[in-house]
């Protein structure tokens, strides 16, 4: 059991996740204390933050004791690809990275652009990233799905949303 979990705990990715938890907890604790030190404000945040920081420190200690290595992350990638029976072509990690980026751009598109166009572009590009090569079919599917979803949204919401067509 322990042997199996070692690559996870001793990878730089795990160290980065712990760093995110620690920085976010410290920032939140600092902001809470800055706002007010009254008992009502810190009754939960202070003790919980301290426990989280101690546990993260313990995880970091374990990670550094085993010396974090890039091989740890590579082992996870390899195992995931074996688990999922990944197709040939782009690696699963590359696809995940691209899809994450697309998802972020999609949310930005909803904020600064148009709902229907952003949804269509996300759908179509995500299909291409996923290895779809039937360009016309994927184009039509993305178009129809986007139109249906955004039309339903405009019917449901009591206020207008930014769209090209509705």
């Amino acid at each position: 059991m322990k042997h199996d979990s070692q690559p996870h705990d001793s990878s730089w990715g795990h160290v980065a996740l712990m760093a995110i938890f620690i920085v976010a907890t410290l920032a939140f604790l600092y902001d809470t204390l800055r706002q007010s030190r009254q008992l009502e404000n810190i009754i939960v945040v202070l003790p919980v933050s301290v426990i989280v920081l101690l546990l993260c420190a313990y995880q970091l200690f374990k990670a550094f004791r085993n010396r974090p290595v890039r091989a740890g992350d590579r082992a996870i990638d390899t195992r995931q690809e074996a688990d999922t029976g990944a197709r040939k072509g782009l690696s699963a990690s590359a696809r995940i990275g691209l899809l994450m980026t697309l998802l972020g751009l999609y949310v930005l598109g909803l904020i600064y652009f148009l709902f229907d166009v952003s949804t269509f572009l996300f759908m179509w590009l995500a299909l291409l990233v996923q290895g779809e090569r039937r360009y016309v079919f994927s184009f039509v599917y993305s178009l129809l799905l986007s139109l249906f979803v955004i039309w339903s949204l405009t019917r449901m919401m009591p206020f207008p949303v930014e769209t090209l067509l509705f």
Partner: protein, 499 residues
């Protein structure tokens, strides 16, 4: 316990006109569809269709909304089983065993189990409501902030029961969830951790966060795979397997009963409801099982425990709505809106003066349960076809549904942004074996625990002896300590056995 004259009047009320029944089937279908799409939830469905109820009489209006409630309660379990994406917080625990069953080609069986457990437990909840509606309401009135805090704390100890390999990782995830739930305006009026973002003043929206944590960690993991079920021969949709699931549920009467009972009890507590009931029931059944190691790997009892609790909690929340006029959650709050639109105020006076209507609502729900079972059989058959959908199409489609669904929930960009941020976090957590379910529990219960703790502190003046004057709180505390210690001891024993 039952006023037979009022019961007779209720039967007359229901059978005197066809109008109340006309809205039940559409209501169940709406509930199933909204529940099954991650991001769209029962309260959203009820809110969207609430204006329609203005044109209906009171009885059909309430039957329509309770039909949505009933359909949605089960509908939310469908994506949990098929895609490991809970349709709402009430079906988080359904995914623990439902999804592993689906992965090994037992999706039809799991859906049959969930549908039957939901239907039976829903009926059970309403039986209890019919028998004990007044005493249930009295019991809830005895719960003060101290008891509510302990209930929330008990819920948080469920983190210990979740199947993370390492207890410390589960604790980090759960407590980080508690901290995230504290973002926004505190009970004392201080604004914490918003980084100046206006959207965060009301806190992090929980359902979009839940969708991000669960959906992304699963969808990103599935990238590169062709279908949800790897083995082509197991991708068939089988009525026989769905019916086998129906039959199998009745082999676990104790679990259905326990889940239903837990669901009704927790459903009665305002602000807790189905989202906690399914987790408490799951961990309780796992703890008492002779083979707890099978849970999380596709154990049918896990699906039954979760689904029976979340469905029966509807009866509990309706009891409080009818007897006290208090909404236990978002869905009953919308229903309270329908009450107001028809100039009806729930509460003890409504109960005493309109007992026939209360019984009619309960009896109407028995019929809804039967209809849910029949319609649900057809619905799960269609929903199961998702295992035949190629994942390269399914993954972006679900992402679009989740993002747009989150927008409808919050009504602004806070929903989609939350889904995205928690998508990344969920993927990272899952990659390094931190249980995302523990973070969801923290998110769900953190705010409530803090609010109730502050109120307890204010009432008691900080005197710990106050606890001794609260017998219900002492019992809950005892149960909390016992269940946590037992859970930790069992975990330790298992670790030693594996070593």
């Amino acid at each position: 316990m039952i006023d037979t004259i009022a019961l007779g009047a209720a039967v007359d009320l229901l059978l005197g006109s066809w109008q109340p029944w006309l809205v039940v089937i559409p209501g169940i279908l709406i509930g199933l569809i909204f529940g099954a799409i991650p991001g769209l939830s029962i309260p959203v469905a009820m809110a969207v269709f609430l204006p329609l109820t203005v044109y209906l009489d009171f009885m059909p209006a309430i039957l329509f909304l309770t039909a949505i409630f009933t359909g949605g309660g089960f509908g939310a379990g469908i994506p949990s089983i098929l895609m490991n994406i809970p349709g709402s917080a009430s079906s988080v625990a359904t995914a623990f065993d439902g999804y592993p069953m689906a992965q090994r080609g037992e999706h039809s069986l799991a859906l049959g189990l969930a549908l039957t457990a939901s239907s039976v437990a829903n009926a059970f909840g309403y039986v209890l409501l019919m028998l004990f509606v007044n005493s249930m309401a009295d019991a809830v009135l005895k719960l003060g902030p101290m008891e509510m805090f302990l209930v929330a704390a008990w819920g948080l100890t469920l983190i210990a029961a979740l199947g993370s390999q390492e207890f410390s990782k589960g604790l980090i995830a759960g407590l980080a969830g508690v901290l995230i739930s504290a973002i926004g305006m505190s009970t004392s009026g201080d604004i914490r951790g918003t980084m100046g973002v206006v959207y965060l003043l009301d806190g992090v929206p929980v359902v979009p966060a839940l969708i991000g944590l669960f959906a992304a960690s699963e969808l990103f993991r599935l990238i590169g795979q062709d279908y949800l079920v790897k083995n082509a021969s197991q991708r068939r949709i089988s009525v026989k397997d769905i019916l086998a699931g129906v039959k199998l549920t009745f082999k676990y009467p104790g679990i259905v009963f326990r889940g239903s009972f837990i669901g009704v009890l927790i459903g009665m507590i305002p602000g807790v409801g189905a989202s906690v009931a399914n987790l408490v029931s799951y961990s309780s059944v796992k703890r008492h099982s002779k083979h707890p190691e099978a849970f999380g790997k596709g154990e049918p009892a896990g699906v039954i425990a979760a689904e029976s609790a979340n469905s029966s909690s509807e009866g509990g929340s309706m009891a409080i709505l009818l007897a006290l006029g208090l909404p236990g959650g978002a869905a009953t709050a919308v229903m309270l809106g329908a009450f107001a639109m028809h100039n009806v105020t729930g509460g003890s006076r409504f109960m005493s003066e309109n007992l026939d209507i209360v019984y009619a609502i309960i009896l109407g729900n028995f019929v809804q349960v039967v209809l849910l079972f029949v319609i649900g059989l057809g619905f799960v058959f269609i929903a199961s076809s998702i295992v035949r959908a190629p994942l390269n199409y399914l993954i972006p489609t679900v992402f679009v549904m989740a993002i747009i669904g989150a927008f409808t929930l919050t009504g602004n960009m806070a929903g989609p942004i939350t889904v995205f941020v928690f998508s990344l976090l969920g993927w990272l957590m899952r990659r390094y074996e931190y249980p995302v379910a523990a973070m969801v529990i923290g998110l769900l219960l953190g705010k409530m625990a803090e609010g109730e703790l502050i109120r307890s502190h204010q009432i008691s003046g900080g005197d710990p002896a106050f606890l001794l004057s609260r017998p219900i709180a002492l019992v809950i505390l005892l149960l909390l300590v016992l269940s946590t210690v037992m859970s930790l001891l069992k975990r330790r024993k298992r670790t030693h056995a594996h070593a």
